[in-house]
Symmetry: C2
Subunit: 529 residues, 2 copies
């Protein structure tokens, strides 16, 4: 399996129309063959028209069929993982074991969302049967559920070439919800994207699904992505990346004649609050755990802990000294792209010059896209008054904020912007008194972690990967990970006074799909009598 | 109970700071005492700050307590309905019986949403227990649910002085979800708004809730509403009104440093498709039913049927003749405000001059704010090509679209924009062959009605009052009526690795609130073992 550099437009391919670009090996600084052709505006139109044609067929596709399709993709990802990982290693510089693990996670995610589609709980099917004799007015029969929203555009992310890219969480949840998908490949790993895209297209054919089910477009710049978001037939957008990029797409989508939702997960600073009792009980373990979390993948996780909040004490200073020593001894790593490495260096330099900020640990990197830990410290009074210190630095950089006391620590918590996660370490005796801090953190983050670390994300029914703006563009009302992710790609439809045979099977009296439905106020899997 | 014209800011009142305006009796054209003072920017700040202070208390308030509060408001609305209806009759010109019915509906809506809050299904509580021995990595404990989003601003509507105003659906659902509410009163019925607002404040005191639970602000113009939507402490907005107004607020909200959701229900044309078999079987009944639906409340319903789509035939022409005769004999009514009456007249005049459009029935009105039916007809080929014919005329005006055949009828359906409702009348033998048309209509509307009429809305668990843009600003993903309306005012929060006593009661092992929760993938009301 080798990429050939063409856009995948349904079952066809584009001519070499747009600007050609090549992938880049961040470990060696070399360009990698083949060239990839940016999609033309005709390619965009064709991909979207195919998706629009497929949308009504997809909206009616059974959950079982969607599950079959997603399992097929999952199986082929695993079967071809050696080829996929080999190409992804070249394009991302990430270690093979990490990428192999990501393929497995991506396959499991596809299967979980497929199961959710077949099970159909997420549809929130509800039935209120008629009361024709009710006074003063008869009550009509009402039956409602979520229905697929239509063609979805997914932007692949730089830092998860599998789990948040072509067959990643947004694509898998959109398919599971019944939507055709057009992926705009991230230019950092076009070859990996093409290989995964071809596996999806094989599954489309093997499952007998319409051509417009899936397309994959390349873009050297921003034009293709913008054209997709503005296209009238596109009904929703999924994005994982920077605040700047996500906000730009969201603004573009809300400025349309018909505004559409953009579900952008835009990263965050993921504050970690460590109370004195936690340090007293397990200082050394927290040094280890936090160091591992903060340096994992050269800090290129949206859940990277970027802010460490401490009450000043001899023990806390000892903690920071031990952490700093470990950071100073951390080898540099290659970042995902030259652009990310440049941004990291520039952001670190800016932070170095900010009032009240001191360097804790800073290691010079030598490789083509190399980066090594750059940690800073400041006092709560500087943090609270200076918004720039709340900005995420994507990469292995964190800011330690020193607080005089618990009150100042609470002030820092209250001054936080939205974040994907917030972490709290407490000692055994401190837990009971932490309720207020927990409530403040729960108002600021989509996931609050007790005595753990923010990196690592369980894909499950209960997980939330979300948070108030700027962590996400929709203010944390939805999640991009977990089975609730399906809900993003749907709208509510109610049928009033319908004959059973004209209803979708999900709402028919006999409950042929065996769904859990709310019938006259009670949840049941039984048929309607 | 008499209004005194002051803004209600928590338990306090504003000084007479801003522009003073009076209500207007649309039936007589007279101004009504007292004067109402537009809120100042200080009033806005104070109301929002109080709400922000109350928000953390409200977020933790039990569902039972919220239910008690909502029932209290419902009871006092009913107890004071004579005073409320008397004032509303003066301010709206609507008949007393209609307003009395609306008070009852509003009270029942408050009770239903209160029950939903106590029952807690809407929270979508989910628990995945830890698997500490899992390989290669242990699985942490995750527990998640919806949590109140914070202070909500509600814009009262002109056409439902109770059900979509101060204590209406948006306010009731926001309280039920755990959010403090600031209402911007509609200037067409400020006295009614004040009286209802005072009842809410009595309930706040009687239930021992914080002062910032509720405020009511008046505005002669747009400044107060805009200031509220832009205020950093406001977290979501509910609006019922025009497309122009809703879109302006949504654009303002997305342009904020921290964008917030605006749930705007902006009306629609509510197409009615009538197939030949329906006319053959029950032509006279449909004339009656459609005439009643289209002229109810002088056509001032967001579900008013504004587009009637027919296949041309002798019977269809007879149907339109009979309908036209009834319309021509329909007495004029007073519209809600002079501005609405002026807009109606202007829109009717514009439509009269459009290419391919002919007048079917047009009755001249004489009253101060009077309006009488103005119906038009056109051919499908004109409708499909001319976007202006898809625009809603708020009031008793509809457009009949003639189609040559079933194919053209389907074309008209496919050309529709988003709508709150779409109605289909079929004959007995036609139902089976209507699947494609039903699917197209379900892609265009939040509620599809078979053999019924769009006006009249059951407030229930299963109802959907929503639709793709421009019917709503959020593309029909949520509903403003029914118990699902609570979901709009919340965001997802997940707790990882938490000690039971630090969790909200909704997620504790013992399930002290008896909620239905998803535990390790299965729905149950049992405690976690």
């Amino acid at each position: 399996m080798k990429p050939d550099g063409g856009n995948l437009i349904g079952f066809g391919s584009s001519g070499p129309g747009g600007t050609v670009f090549k992938a880049f090996n961040p470990a060696t600084g070399e360009r990698i063959d083949p060239g990839f052709a940016s999609a033309t505006s005709e390619d965009v139109d064709r991909a979207v028209q195919l998706a629009a044609d497929a949308a009504p067929i997809w909206a009616k596709l059974s959950g079982r069929k969607r599950n079959e399709f997603l399992r097929h993709i999952a199986d082929s990802l695993e079967a071809k993982s050696a080829d996929l990982v080999a190409r992804a290693m070249l394009e991302t510089g990430l270690p093979g074991a990490r990428l192999q693990g990501e393929v497995t996670r991506t396959a499991n995610q596809l299967r979980l969302y497929g199961e959710a589609a077949e099970r159909g709980d997420w549809l929130d099917a509800r039935i209120e049967t008629a009361l024709p004799e009710r006074k003063p007015l008869p009550k009509p029969d009402h039956r409602s559920m979520l229905r697929a929203i239509g063609p979805v555009v997914v932007f692949g992310s730089s830092n998860f070439p599998f789990a948040y890219s072509v067959a990643g969480g947004d694509t898998a949840s959109a398919f599971a919800a019944g939507c055709p998908v057009i992926v705009k490949a991230h230019p950092a790993h076009p070859g990996t994207s093409e290989l995964v895209g071809r596996l999806i297209l094989h599954a489309v054919r093997d499952c007998g699904l319409p051509e417009g089910t899936f397309s994959l477009l390349f873009d050297a710049g921003f034009e293709v992505g913008q054209a997709l978001v503005k296209h009238p037939h596109v009904k929703a957008v999924g994005f994982t990346g920077s605040l700047q990029g996500g906000r730009a797409l969201a603004d573009l989508a809300t400025a349309r004649a018909e505004p559409i939702p953009v579900y952008a997960e835009m990263g965050s600073i993921n504050p970690v609050f460590i109370l004195p009792g936690a340090l007293a009980e397990r200082r050394v373990a927290i040094v280890e755990g936090l160091h591992a979390s903060a340096t994992l993948g050269v800090g290129q996780f949206c859940t990277n802990p970027g802010l460490i909040v401490l009450q000043r004490s001899a023990e806390a200073e000892q903690f920071v000294r031990e952490l700093t020593a470990k950071l100073a001894a951390t080898p540099e790593g290659a970042m995902l792209t030259a652009g990310i490495a440049r941004n990291f260096a520039a952001n670190v330099e800016t932070r170095t010059g900010q009032p009240g900020v001191k360097i804790l640990a800073q290691v010079a990197a030598k490789g083509a896209c190399g980066a090594a830990p750059a940690w800073f410290e400041t006092d709560a009074k500087f943090f609270v008054g200076n918004h720039a210190l709340s900005e995420e630095i994507f990469g292995p950089s964190s800011l330690v904020v020193w607080c005089k006391d618990r009150a100042e620590l609470l002030q820092v918590a209250q001054a936080l912007e939205g974040s994907l996660t917030a972490t709290l370490h407490v000692g055994t005796a401190e837990a009971g008194g932490s309720g207020e801090l927990v409530d403040v953190l729960a108002a600021k983050a989509g996931r609050v972690i007790l005595n753990g670390y923010p990196t690592g994300l369980e894909v499950s029914h209960a997980i939330v990967h979300s948070g108030p703006y700027p962590a996400t563009s929709d203010g944390g009302r939805s999640t991009s990970v977990g089975t609730r992710a399906l809900n993003r790609w749907a709208r509510l439809v109610c049928y009033q006074g319908f004959a059973d045979e004209l209803l979708p099977p999900e709402l028919q009296n006999a409950n042929p799909l065996g769904l859990r439905r709310m019938v006259n106020g009670e949840w049941t899997s039984a048929a309607v009598q």
